[in-house]
Point group: C2
């Protein structure tokens, strides 16, 4: 067995079947191992940033994603994507091809280094944006591979492994043939804490579960759904936690809405403020996720917060608690709270049909139509941080949706490659991507992979002539919020997409529902006025501008 | 005066008239100052990596370039470009829009941060890839602006300035109205050293100047040309120093060729080894620039090396020497060496016309034709690190050429945005870009700026179905060296380019010379066999593969 074989084995053990990235002379030998492996496929991206986004999208579906780049030029191109995975707890393993170990040791000014005769590794750079990082040597490889991979498994943060190209073929069969991972976990006080939480829940009048994105990131969606079923409890989510649990009133009558301070859906602020027991699980605090830190009027004595490695009950913080064990315990012992206030709920959605509309598309009416006519049970819905995200978060989506967005890191252009990663990870699901023209321009070339791999992705491209979300924040008509004019449909055709739609009015939209709902790669260009915003977007942008200025 | 005004003043004092970048809510207020300024134009890029490359290309023409991004997502997207500027001593000032200072102080998990409640600045990241870096505060701004800008002026390394968005409008008129920069310099031993170098030159039998890229980076091309004229001395360049001095035998009969160890042009190795006085100025040591560190057979007692801040005479190193002052002194006191060996030279290029060719394009004949029929005096020639670079370096180019390439950092995709920066910096010159299809895919969207700004750029796109330079190094027919198939000419049309050519044979090429030589944006697609390489490329790639494996 060689070191290359071992790394391939690890990648396969982690449940990965597709590896993303861009070749470079320092990683070519490793790519040979991928190509020759049984069970791993290489997906070459157009550039490394796009590769990192694709690995992130893949990991959100699959648990773990792998990115391979060459050192210097390749890894630094991916830095923004890796940082986004860090911010959102997405486990991307970044494997970087390094020069020959002797060259590396010698500080020789070889290509892809800064040529300054200093150790030219970017470990410092990546130490800020990955959870664990290493460069393998002939002596450290076994310890370091373990340390870095285990750290990723425990924290879900991306990890970085540099491999000098000459070590790939190094024979290691005298030491190792197989490696198995058992992330540690602690169970000292799980029982005490689980009981305390359940007691609080059972004696409350208006108990409420409040659920966040880390439930998905730590693979706890099924467990959480079981707890909700056994407790028959009311619940809401954060913005970042959107759709991690079914949110239609039919499937989940206990779903109340999204709470995010001033950015909450209707009625949620009152509900949250009046609750006497909020059990917050896997939630994340960020400006957008908290309505610009406007979570007022809550008595924190009534709040229990369960985070990946800690639990807070009122003002007491328990550190080092394994979230999965705790939720398992709660699931085992959960029962409904029969005392709970039955009126503590929201009115049911009306089932009335949406009337047909005439005239140009607008955000007020567009997203309700999309939700009724396009988005279907089980779809993966990917929303770019722009009018798409803020149009979609206010819709209650069908059951079994994976909702992908980057609300904290908010790197535009992220969603196109990410959707590709999701589609490759879950080939039997349909991916619906909603992306603004501005965002599309950052990573547009990756569209060619949708065609090349014949992915079941429909791209809804919001053409509103520029950075509308920025116009909403500042400089509505300033030239810096304009973007170069592209012929988007010609462009995607040149990249291999055969099916395209150009839609300006609601009639045209209605006319094409069936065709759009067909399987296969397609791009739907949708025209909007540059100064038309989804209602929530205007509210958020005013607040952002105020925070920037004050 | 506000801080925003002061920063704009500084940017203008540095001789900059175009600022590159991408907006984001944390920098929008600063962009207002650019838009409203007298004498600064905003050039919005499709993404930040492309913006950093464009600022680099602009700086190579103009001395200094400026890039504006938003923090986190924006700056990290540009990291690879900034690192390339560092490796190549290109002065790019990277201005990063930060959140409001109070938010920043509070470690609040706002958007575009990692959300981990730690100081979320990427100064550590950028400390590895910029020369000086700072985040401005209400108290430090004057000291820090000076320190960082001066460092850039002295070292030519990129610099990083973060500005919290609320400080842009801060009134600073009580402290400052104007700022002037005087980079320090030392002249203690300039005279001694200058004389020693001249004496060595004058008593040598076979003296030789050996010139490198930093002559261009430090703005010393004119001075160097004057020295060559006054001394009437023979000279060669490095690969990275290609074309910094005229290299046609008519304009510069003293030009000998390129010396790069095993990658030298014909006859150069013998010439260099037999010289008894090599005066090396502004050269840089890297693997490609030194023929894989194969500069053997030179007696280093005969070598004088002048670097930006040091001079080495034989085995004595003088540190802290201002290169410009030293060259000025040498120019003042220079005279020809009348003893020098007149036969110490290369045969003149033959003026014979190149015969017309039939059949498919090939690298052996293509580059000589391009050099004779397309490249003209005064052009800016940009060559991507691939078959383009290794095809072109072996041609002696016409006089007054700026030759742009990234031989050390070698980040593919660099040249397209960089060519845009060059064209904007030097609107009266023609830019010829030679780029491989693989490289083009990384940054292709930026083509739309060529159309949008109607730039005088001709893009020669080498379509050889993938990463040919990588095929030459390793895995000639491995799938990872294939790339998605694009319809390149349809694509660039969708991005606004009106004039395009598709060329498969030498007859077609000959037929279109005149049309291609017309002014204005255009793209010429050229088809080559995936396994056809320029001769030098094969030689280099064999050596790279050996270095990776050994
Ligand atoms: C990598 C990156 N660069 C810049 C930004 C700043 N930014 C946030 S939203 C936005 C504009 C998005 O415009 P578009 O995708 O067209 O959305 P829409 O018009 O639908 O709002 C920009 C430039 C960012 N978030 N990420
Ligand atoms: C950002 C970056 N990613 C990856 C590489 C590794 N690399 C070096 S050359 C090359 C292929 C270039 O192919 P192309 O531009 O088509 O050139 P040609 O076919 O003309 O040789 C690659 C992938 C790199 N240098 N920079």
């Amino acid at each position: 067995m060689t070191l290359g074989n071992l790394v391939i084995e690890i990648v396969k053990k982690l449940g990965v079947s597709h590896v993303f990235g861009v070749p470079g002379d320092y990683n070519l030998r490793f790519l040979d191992y991928i190509v020759e492996s049984d069970g791993l496929a290489w997906v070459g991206n157009c550039n490394e940033l796009n590769g990192s986004y694709a690995a992130d999208g893949y990991a959100r579906e699959n648990g773990i994603g792998v990115l391979v780049t060459t050192c210097g030029v390749g890894e630094l191109s991916a830095a923004n994507g890796i940082a986004g995975s860090y911010a959102h707890n997405v486990s991307v393993l970044h494997i970087v091809g390094y020069p020959n170990s002797k060259l590396l040791e010698s500080d020789a000014p070889v290509h892809h280094t800064l040529g300054n005769y200093r150790k030219n590794s970017f470990l410092t750079t990546f130490s800020a944006i990955t959870g664990a990082q290493t460069i393998l040597t002939a002596t450290n490889y076994l310890e370091e591979l373990q340390r870095v991979v285990l750290h990723m498994l425990l924290t879900k943060k991306p990890a970085y492994i540099g491999i000098p190209t000459d070590l790939i073929d190094m024979d290691i069969s005298h030491t190792i043939e197989e490696i198995l991972f058992y992330p540690q976990s602690h169970d000292a006080i799980i029982e005490t804490l689980g009981n305390r939480i359940l007691e609080r829940f059972l004696r409350a009048k208006k108990p409420l579960f409040f659920l966040g994105a880390n439930i998905a990131r730590f693979g706890l969606r099924t467990l959480m759904t079981q707890i909700l079923q056994k407790t028959d409890a009311k619940f809401g989510t954060t913005l970042m936690g959107k759709s991690i649990i079914n949110e239609t009133s039919v499937a989940e009558p206990n779903f109340l809405g999204i709470y995010a301070g001033d950015y909450s859906t209707e009625g949620m602020v009152g509900i949250v403020q009046s609750s006497d027991c909020i059990i917050s699980i896997g939630t994340v605090e960020t400006d957008l996720n908290s309505g610009g830190f406007s979570e007022d009027g809550i008595d924190f004595e009534n709040v229990i917060t369960v985070r990946p490695n800690s639990v807070k009950v009122g003002k007491t913080l328990y550190s080092g608690i394994d979230i999965e064990k705790l939720l398992l315990y709660i699931k085992e012992h959960a029962k409904p709270n029969t005392l709970a206030d039955k009126t503590f709920t929201l009115p049911k959605e009306s089932a009335t049909l949406l009337p047909s509309l005439k005239g140009a598309l607008n955000h007020k009416d567009f997203w309700t139509r999309i939700n009724k006519n396009i988005i279907k049970e089980g779809d993966i819905v990917v929303a770019e941080a722009g009018s798409s995200l803020f149009g979609l978060v206010q819709q209650n989506l069908p059951t079994g949706i994976d909702f992908v967005s980057q609300i904290l890191w908010a790197s535009i252009g992220y969603t196109l490659p990410s959707a590709i990663g999701s589609a490759i990870a879950s080939p039997h699901r349909r991916v619906l991507l909603f992306i603004g023209d501005g965002s599309f321009q950052l990573t547009a070339q990756e569209t060619s992979l949708i065609a090349q791999h014949n992915l079941n992705i429909t791209v809804f491209l919001i053409n509103n002539n520029g950075y509308t979300i920025e116009r909403a924040i500042h400089g509505a008509t300033q030239p810096y919020n304009d973007i170069p004019r592209w012929h988007y449909l010609d462009l995607v055709k040149a990249l291999g997409i055969k099916t395209t739609f150009s839609i300006k009015t609601f009639q045209e939209l209605e006319h094409h529902y069936d065709a759009i709902n067909q399987k296969g790669p397609k791009v739907v260009e949708l025209f909007f006025d540059p100064l038309d915003f989804p209602p929530l977007l205007k509210q958020i942008s005013d607040k952002l501008e105020a925070a920037n200025r004050k």
